[in-house]
Symmetry: C2
Subunit: 364 residues, 2 copies
């Protein structure tokens, strides 16, 4: 397999090093604006030199962001090259377009590293969904917010302090909104739910509450009840559609979820027959993420194609059947309320209008 590697940041550079250990995977060219003296193959700032090279059969996109990643990916597929990416945003946003193009061109499209870093989640989910009817998928899928919540719970750090620390350590970006508002988790949920249920969900349809409104006092209040905050992404199959949300969830302190600390991730599937299976590991980081990119390369080299298929149903999110207990802080007071997820999120939207620091969390 001859690879054209687009991007040489954290994921790209670690992939380059890992690939050197694999006899079957040869990086032939790297797209990089900067010179890379440490790279022994062609380094170019001109993507056309990679996309027009007939020797390159596979493009690894490790640039991130929507553009020009989308344009490069589609050009690579049009040129008959397999595409492997860790870019959840581009796959999520252009899901239908990319699947249609993969089908038309017959190339592989894989993005295992897009969810759960180095955890073999999407491949395991694909495997389970082929054999069993999936009931639900859920997890702690954003390492940045989990690191921040760990700091807030263990050391009583404020949101601002936890964010600052995460930024210093390189876990959070200068603009942290994709992480702290839950958008990154929501994209990973879409990629998981689409595969689990054979649907095509729209990101914007899924209610999404991040962790920005969690205050030290909230953490102390729930700790006294034996609970702790985790930012969870959840989707389940209902009779009339898919229910899904991203929100802080209060889990019992002794549970497996509560003990996923720092930048760790946990992903759980529930199948009608196989029951509950969870997958834990590093949700980010150069080595783990690059290892899933490399695993995709090996899978493609072995003849596998993508796990997503075009026979997916466009599907609206219906949270009106998903009943449960919810926890609110509104104007400084705490409330519990038993209602559907739909009602919970609309109440929260109303609260937010009156008290922009309103907090909500699902109670497990």
């Amino acid at each position: 397999m001859n690879v054209g590697l687009l991007g040489f940041g954290t994921v790209g550079s670690h992939f380059y090093l890992l690939a050197q250990q694999q006899p079957g995977v040869k990086v032939k060219a790297v797209l990089s604006r900067r010179p890379r003296p440490e790279v022994s193959c062609l380094v170019t700032a001109d993507v056309a030199r990679i996309l027009s090279d007939p020797d390159i059969d596979t493009v690894v996109e490790a640039m991130g962001g929507l553009h020009p990643a989308y344009e490069y990916i589609t050009a690579a597929m049009e040129a008959g090259k397999h595409v492997i990416t860790a870019n959840k945003q581009v796959v999520c946003t252009y899901y239908n377009e990319l699947l249609a193009l993969a089908e038309k061109t017959g190339v592989a499209l894989r993005c295992t590293a897009a969810v759960g870093g180095g955890i073999p989640w999407l491949t395991s989910l694909r495997r389970a969904a082929r054999m069993d009817k999936m009931v639900s998928v859920e997890g702690i899928v954003n390492g940045t917010t989990n690191f921040m919540l760990s700091a807030m719970v263990r050391r009583g750090a404020s949101f601002a302090d936890a964010l600052h620390e995460a930024q210093l350590l390189g876990y959070a970006e200068a603009d942290p909104s994709a992480d702290v508002e839950g958008y990154d988790a929501r994209r990973k949920l879409v990629l998981s739910a689409n595969l689990a249920f054979g649907v095509s969900l729209m990101e914007e349809d899924i209610p999404c509450v991040g962790i920005t409104n969690i205050q030290p006092r909230d953490v102390a209040v729930v700790r006294d009840k034996g609970l702790t905050f985790k930012l969870m992404a959840y989707a389940c199959r209902e009779a009339r559609g898919i229910s899904a949300y991203v929100a802080p969830v209060l889990v019992q302190q002794h549970t497996t979820e509560a003990n996923v600390e720092d930048t760790g991730n946990i992903l759980t599937l529930v199948g009608e027959h196989i029951g509950r299976q969870s997958f834990l590991g590093a949700g980010a980081g150069g080595w783990p993420t690059a290892s899933n990119v490399l695993a995709d390369c090996l899978a493609v080299a072995a003849g596998e194609r993508g796990y997503y298929t075009r026979d997916c149903t466009p599907c609206f999110v219906k949270n009106e059947l998903l009943d449960g207990q919810w926890f609110y802080r509104f104007k400084g007071e705490y409330y519990f309320r038993q209602c559907t997820a739909e009602a919970a999120f609309s109440t929260y939207a109303v609260h937010l209008m009156e008290d922009p620091e309103a907090l909500m969390a699902k109670v497990r």
Copy 2:
């Protein structure tokens, strides 16, 4: 894929039902001593009718036990049929013979369901070991003993009561020694370590202590220290060989391992680059186990072969570098001792001669 199914017990019958949902997998014949009116294909007590049927390309062995499972498996391979089995005992005992035969005949040999029931463990481990150097593998791999320990810890049940309950519920066999003495866990450890480290370990080389000597008083004593008993299988790569053992381990009550309850399993790999990944799920049961057998069928149908290879090194177990703290009960008194695993197990053997109820556990 046309399957000859050997055995129609828990795993076999569930596999039969699951396979009916898969267009690509057709069970053509079932080996069973009893008539099976619920089965629509050929049911025969004569294995030769299955092994000599040229239409059958794959044999699923779900009988368990060493004999005649081994003879049927080798006959199937000699006849050019792929073999899929959930039988850890036969693969473990005849590891070198079966691998050599698979290589000679060019057929697939897979046993994903042999470790971790429905958890995609061996396949994930294979995937990780291809990309990264494995440092260690470990886990709670025996559902029967974990169920019993859960009963002993949560309800203060005695070993005998817990065993009785497990037998009533069908989790333990009339002769429970393979489970409670740790031999089942040790076989699963061999299958995991062989794959992780590219070695061929001998079962008998691995020190193995079960849970038979754990008494209610021990459970209470360690609970007061914030610890709980789990039967763990562990293997790691050392400079001069593989260290490995099966023994009760004292884990902190808040850890992921401590919270694997009842018949649940957890399997963990640590890779040099990808770090720690854990896989949790039902470690036994008809549906989960059958789903892994079916997943193996789908993998073989897609052109995959076995994950074990013959380029493995026969390897002795060396526990002389594996340092740690150990907990003993000897003649009614409790001791902690810092020493190598090798020293710990020899001390325990001496204790056992003097006090047959001596207890040992690794302290995490």
